[in-house]
């Protein structure tokens, strides 16, 4: 569509970020832009960057809302470190995001938004246009508000409405810069504003005006082309980690035939899972918003007793509140899915920022000997598969299980190749048969040590379970010392035996070498990108990214032993690394940590890895 008078520069990947005041519609603009990229066939990952406050004062840094898109013609693993193209709708958003712009980045900004007041509110001492601070960037300064109003002059649209559509003008300019088709967005307006045809017209006009304007300006030397990625054939959609988690649980419920029950209490960044499941009553999901996290998990335990796929979703502080009840689920040996969307801690910490600092809590944060399955998702999209997996493991092995995701995965989105339910693995919970004369509450399958699930209402299986230690096999209350030893061993052994039902740990790169980079959870994209960049440079480095943490894959020992040096990278002060050291005491395990509420940057990882390779 672009008039071909400008050279087209082909780029393998580009990071674009839309920033503006909370009211500027940056989330919508960003997601429309990424939808078009997806339609064209780019791979992509996105991340919304919300202000912590609900209604921060206008034009302040606290009120800046952003949406980042990383798109490419090859597989995209992260939402991008530094930004190639920044759309900043006001001075505050420019000020707070400039540090993320690459040297030479293209910055599009609305000059109409800069006056004495807004510049001062943004915290600038001088007008950034006159103080040389933007010299190293390719600035596109456009009077976007004025031009938007002008484009709507003939329609007689009032100024307020006109002003509100300035984000579409900016989007139109970006479509020109990225050589994109406007038609999908036109169709989007037609669908969205079916009942308000005037809005269809307004948005179309403004979008087109922005596009045309970009064609005329001098500041633009070339347009950027990101070609389709070579993606596996199939039907795709965009999905955030939280929605993927919710859907994974629904899928597991359908496959297993166990009705879904969610007992939960709102908490950032996990609330979206609760909200998403609340929408799907047509699939039979019973969603209970409890009075607190304790009631959330306790109601789920009650539901688990009756035979539901029982789940509770939360974030760090909520997991703390659930600790005692997780113990009840452990000793009653009921299936229970606990999702922890991690955020910065301790206490309220950094509620909107991501961290991996709840691993110890997930593994050890309870009284008594209290083992549970712990697994971690690594991309927004695979939250679906790991939520499904945790439900499967929890029900088939009759044990509570914790799925760790994080705010970065939960809020971020990636493309999701839509699976068919028929292709999902079977889930077979060990449900006891009515009137089974041999049924005993704690009789176990000899291979898995799994007890049977006897559902209330079933004839001939009445029994009591509870928080007091139970007699092995028969399940009556027991304080016998040897019995407690046996039951403690059984509960631990049962979880260890899950290792027979999970895949072996994979290594990206050679199975032996100088350096093994180890990571887990939401850092996959960054660590993978860093390692594969170094591998391309011919460096002797491999990557093992763990999804299964308790139990660890059976070959973990072997994986670690193949390397001279090991470095474990985590967004905490070293929790997984210490867990590995505890299990596999080896002198050559080092660590790389960051606790800033921010993801790893690829170059800080490669710097560290190179340093380790150079050190003798």
């Amino acid at each position: 569509m672009a008039k071909k008078k400008r050279p087209v520069i082909e780029r393998e990947e580009v990071v674009v970020k839309f920033v503006g005041d909370s009211g500027d519609g940056m989330q919508l603009t960003g997601s429309m832009f990424s939808d078009v990229a997806a339609l064209v066939g780019n791979d992509l990952a996105t991340f919304p960057d919300f202000p912590a406050e609900i209604r921060a004062p206008q034009n302040t840094v606290a009120g800046v809302s952003g949406f980042q898109v990383h798109m490419g013609s090859s597989k995209i693993f992260t939402t991008g470190d530094l930004v190639d193209v920044l759309v900043a709708m006001n001075p505050a958003s420019l000020k707070s995001n400039l540090k993320w712009a690459k040297k030479g980045a293209t910055i599009l900004t609305d000059t109409d938004a800069y006056d004495e007041k807004t510049i001062e509110k943004a915290g600038y001492k001088n007008n950034p246009f006159t103080d040389n601070s933007l010299d190293s960037f390719n600035m596109i300064k456009a009077p976007i508000t004025t031009l938007t109003k002008e484009s709507l002059k003939d329609l007689g649209v009032d100024n307020k409405i006109a002003e509100r559509s300035k984000n579409m003008f900016a989007l139109g300019m970006l479509y020109y810069i990225f050589n994109r088709d406007l038609k999908p967005s036109f169709k989007y307006f037609e669908d969205k504003f079916k009942k308000k045809p005037e809005l269809i017209q307004i948005n179309k006009i403004v979008l087109q005006a922005g596009y045309n304007y970009a064609d005329t300006i001098e500041a633009l030397e070339s347009v950027i082309q990101v070609s389709p990625a070579n993606m596996q054939k199939g039907r795709y959609r965009n999905i955030t980690g939280n929605v993927a988690t919710a859907w994974g649980l629904l899928a597991a419920a359908e496959k297993s035939g166990r009705p879904l029950f969610l007992g939960s209490y709102p908490i950032t960044p996990a609330t979206e899972i609760l909200m998403e499941l609340a929408k799907h009553k047509s699939l039979g999901a019973k969603v209970f918003q409890a009075e607190d996290e304790i009631a959330g998990i306790c109601s789920a335990i009650g539901a688990a007793f009756t035979g539901s796929l029982a789940c509770t979703t939360t974030s760090g502080p909520g997991l703390s509140l659930k600790s005692e009840a997780i113990g009840l689920a452990v000793i009653t040996e009921l299936p229970l899915v606990i999702v922890n969307v991690q955020r910065g801690g301790p206490s309220t910490g950094l509620p909107t920022k991501s961290e991996q600092s709840d691993l110890y809590q997930a593994l050890f944060g309870r009284n008594g000997e209290c083992p549970v399955i712990v697994i971690a998702a690594s991309t927004s999209e695979n939250c679906f598969y790991y939520a499904y997996e945790i439900a499967k493991l929890s029900m088939e092995h009759m044990t509570p299980a914790i799925l760790l995701t994080d705010g970065y995965l939960g809020f971020g989105s990636t493309l999701f190749r839509i699976p068919k339910m028929a292709d999902m693995p079977e889930i077979n919970p060990p449900i006891a048969e009515a009137n089974d004369p041999d049924y005993k509450p704690y009789k176990r399958d000899p291979e898995t040590l799994v007890r049977q699930w006897a559902l209330p209402g079933t004839e001939g299986l009445r029994h009591r379970i509870g928080g007091l230690e139970k007699e092995n096999i028969i399940g009556t209350v027991s304080t016998d010392p040897m019995n407690h030893q046996i039951m403690t061993n059984n509960r631990a052994q049962k979880v260890e035996l899950v290792a027979n039902f999970i895949p072996e740990q994979e290594i990206e790169g050679p199975a032996e070498g100088d350096l093994l980079v180890v990571s887990w959870g939401g850092t996959y994209g960054a660590v993978h990108s860093a390692v594969s960049q170094m591998q391309k440079e011919g460096k002797n480095v491999s990557h093992a990214h763990f999804h299964y943490i308790m139990p660890l894959p059976k070959n973990t020992d072997k994986v670690l032993k193949g390397f001279k040096k090991i470095v474990v990278c985590e967004l905490n002060s070293g929790q997984f690394v210490n867990y590995l050291r505890m299990k596999f005491p080896m002198p050559n395990i080092s660590q790389f940590n960051k606790v800033q509420g921010l993801p790893f940057m690829i170059n800080e990882l490669t710097d560290k890895f190179n340093q380790l390779l150079e050190e003798k």
Partner: protein, 345 residues
Amino acid sequence: MEFVNMTVERTNVQLSKADFESDQMVKWCPGCGGHAILAAVERVFPKIGYRKENFCMVSGIGCSSRFPYYVNTYGIHGIHGRAAAISTGVKIANPRLSVWTVTGDGDSLAIGGNHFIHVIRRNVDINILLFNNQIYGLTKGQFSPTTPMGKVTKTSPMGTIEHPFNIGELVMGAQGTFFARVPDNNITLMTECMFEAAKHDGTSVTEIMENCIIFADKAHAPVTGKEVKDENMLILKNGAPMVFGKNNDKGLILKDTMLEVAEIGKNGITVDDILVHDQYNQDPGIQLMLAKLAPPHFPMVFGVIRSAMYPTYDDLVEEQIKYAKETSKIKNVDDLLNSGDTWEI
């Protein structure tokens, strides 16, 4: 009144006490009120008419909360304070179960106070048997939220300095739809009230004034003791005048906006002047006044004080699901996965 609740599966098989007896040794102290309550439950369960497999008992922690081990039903002995929350999950997940929650005054009103008021507010169809012995029994004698002001206990050697809850007042404050109060020394009344509780759709709270012979012996004796009970207890009957006294010669009347004790036959008062109990009245005004009465100026009121009809939480859950299933285009997870914006590559 016939059974309204048709959700729980019923049976025509005649059940008996033996159907609910467990083989476990009952470990309460000899003389503990728990024994009589257990006898009442074993007496009433076979009469309710549900399949025996459809009873589910849920408890918290405390002497009282050992209860599920002593009855042969499905049961969960939970954690301290959370019985109401666990029960909520049981009932929502499987509304075909008749859920009985056994809890103590500490369990439900101290550590579990939050869950207690919320389950009541939601009107989840469960039956709470609250064993009120005015003490923490299992931990050996600390004061509880129902211990009378000034009472000396292990943790209040100079007497408590906090004001106790009146359970009926708390239940109605939380918009409760059913409240009954019974003494542990009247099995017939206990059985009648538990039957009424089972009949009630919604959260029923039955406060059982239980004697802890070890740590708070005779705590209820000033009301329920043999010598005083005629004067200090008024046992309600729906539709009947609220009379009490050895010769049934006293009753409650409403004077201005307050209840008052009147003697029948004096000052021209006849039985027709005595207030008639209406447990089904949706307006809890009089019922709340009744729940709060206590000696020395009034009798304490026993029996079913309130039993009002309101929709239950679990019924509404089922209704929303039914409606969603009828109206939503998303019938299965494949539909869900393919809903909204998708594209082929």
